[in-house]
């Protein structure tokens, strides 16, 4: 009986400890609460408020977004692709379409269907010409399924001209 009472009093104390922890997280440490100190990385709030705040670029460098073609050194509107079809064969989700051009090795159509892509990176790794890479675009959205089919050559030409 006595032990049960002691246990229950201890239990009530443990509830107070819990309340203290959540209360401290809600208000933040005193200096921040009284606005004496500037909060570090948004403390007590930790989330990123997307349209107003964005992720720092250094966090995005390693992010693997939809694949894109690497521009050639001499002409940024052209790709380094040699139409060897290695990526098309290796892709586990069959999301790449490459059509070889009429003259030379350069492709005339290069699309990646992002509705199918699982971002596994096999295409990037098998490419013998190192013509592919991951983009770091995490904000890309599309309204229609057709918009998710990326024409990478057109994108490259557009980016190269700018």
């Amino acid at each position: 009986m006595f032990k049960a009472i002691v246990d229950n009093v201890k239990g009530l104390y443990s509830l107070l400890v819990g309340l203290h922890i959540t209360g401290r997280y809600a208000l933040g440490p005193f200096p921040i609460w009284l606005k004496l100190k500037k909060p570090e990385n948004g403390y007590p709030q930790l989330t990123t408020h997307y349209p107003r705040q964005t992720i720092a670029d250094e966090d995005l460098v390693t992010f693997r977004g939809p694949v894109e073609l690497i521009p050639a050194e001499n002409d940024p509107t052209k790709s380094k692709c040699v139409s060897c079809m290695m990526c098309v064969k290796a892709c586990p989700s069959n999301c790449l379409t490459v059509v070889k051009g009429d003259e030379g090795k350069a492709p005339k159509l290069w699309t990646s269907n992002f509705t199918l892509c699982s971002l596994c990176g096999t295409c990037v790794e098998v490419c013998p010409a190192s013509a592919l890479r991951f983009s770091h675009d995490i904000y890309w959205v599309a309204e229609k399924r057709e918009d998710m089919i990326n024409d990478l050559l057109a994108k490259l030409a557009k980016n190269g001209r700018n």
Partner: protein
């Protein structure tokens, strides 16, 4: 005997046969046949239920609030990963392993990569082995921390899961540096890993270790010490070692029952034999034991992480003879098991010299752990049954594969 094996699953009784049979499906009807008590209530927990962690469905017969019997029903998330492994080449199947268990994808990566390496006899460079350990342990911490939050959520506490996400975000930031993704990671390659770690990663990991220890103290104060939680889970769902052996339970559930079995120690793979770490064993075999095992495993993972960062050698991260995409798997069989966050992950690979393996068998720990639920939940209160379910740490994509 109606021969329950040969019941046509596509046959549903029509209104004129028996009006009562219109409700429910094949499983409900079969479950109803075994009714224990005439005034019991058969209730469907799931496939859409807040505490079944996805699309698990549990049929339960309740007498008041007591569970007379319960039966998990699977198949709502079946994606045929085993079959996909037989159709695709190993290179193409590798990203799938990250999708099997979304909370600990790197262990599944490792299991598949390890099986292929064992079959083909590929030597992995030392640095790559260490990187694998670092990534795998980080991911294990993320998985356990996530479980901690979800388990308290099952018991009705909403806030801890959001605190758990803080730690998970830190780990995801780190793993994103090396794997490029934040959820279904695909880090390993046959013969090595895909990316080396950089100074930023090491700095973040060094900062993370003391921070995680501090946060663990907070977790214990907020949740473990809380009298409501302690009384909710102490003594609930005792698993005997015998029961665990019968169902093939592994991982923290088995260690919670008092058996110090850890694949990292029992069948050392990679460089795990070079680290000093303890295997936490539950003092009581109830849910509280399993809870404490997981929390202490986070500490052990931090220890391993610390040692791995200290010992990290220089060198290449890919084997010189790493297979290319067009590579053919040699004939033969190989089995490779790793310790995942939920238990022993095993992959059995049989090759016949073709492009894709002849047979791939994935051993998911969650499947064995869940099979015990029917027996463990008998006679418990509904709330306790859900606490036991939560303490098993289920990830449904892994169970259904």
């Amino acid at each position: 005997m109606s021969g329950s094996l040969f019941v046509n699953p596509f046959h549903f009784s029509t209104m004129h046969e028996n009006p009562g049979d219109m409700l429910g499906d094949f499983y409900t009807h079969n479950f109803e046949k075994g009714r224990i008590s005439h005034d019991s209530m058969i209730i469907n927990l799931g496939p859409q239920h807040p505490s079944t962690h996805g699309v698990l469905r549990i049929l339960a017969e309740l007498h008041g609030e007591y569970v007379l019997r319960a039966e998990p029903i699977l198949g709502y998330l079946h994606r045929m990963h085993d079959k996909m492994g037989q159709v695709k080449t190993p290179w193409q199947f590798l990203p799938n392993t990250g999708r099997v268990d979304y909370l600990h994808p790197i262990a599944w990566n490792w299991a598949y990569v390890g099986a292929v390496e064992r079959l083909a006899g590929i030597e992995v460079p030392e640095r790559a082995e260490y990187l694998r350990v670092i990534a795998c342990e980080l991911n294990r911490i993320a998985s356990h921390v996530m479980w901690w939050g979800a388990f308290v959520l099952d018991l009705g506490g909403v806030t801890p899961i959001l605190y758990a996400f803080e730690e998970r975000e830190k780990i995801n930031d780190m793993l994103q540096i090396v794997t490029g993704s934040r959820l279904t990671m695909n880090y390993m390659r046959f013969g090595g890993v895909c990316a080396d770690i950089n100074d930023r990663f090491i700095k973040m990991a060094r900062e993370f270790i003391p921070r995680m220890r501090e946060r663990l103290e907070m977790y214990h104060k907020l949740v473990t010490g809380n009298v409501i939680l302690a009384r909710r889970i102490t003594g609930i769902g005792p698993f005997d070692p015998d029961l665990c052996y019968r169902y093939g339970v592994t991982g923290p559930c088995l260690r919670g029952a008092g058996v110090a079995y850890d694949t990292r120690r029992a069948e050392p793979y990679g460089v795990y034999d070079r680290f000093r770490f303890d295997i936490p064993v539950g003092e009581t075999n109830c849910s509280m034991g399993r809870y404490m095992v997981r929390m202490r495993e986070v500490e052990e993972s931090l220890k391993i992480l610390e040692q791995a960062l200290d010992q990290l050698p220089d060198g290449p991260i890919m084997a010189p003879k790493a297979p290319k995409a067009t590579w053919k798997l040699p004939a033969g069989e190989a089995y490779f098991a790793v310790e995942g966050a939920r238990g022993k992950i095993g992959i059995h690979l049989a090759g016949d010299g073709g492009k894709s393996p002849y047979r791939v068998k994935l051993r998911a720990p969650g499947f064995s752990n869940l099979s015990l639920f029917a027996e463990a939940s008998q006679g418990t209160l509904l709330a306790d049954a859900l606490a036991i379910l939560g303490s098993l740490d289920l990830v449904i994509p892994e169970i259904d594969r």
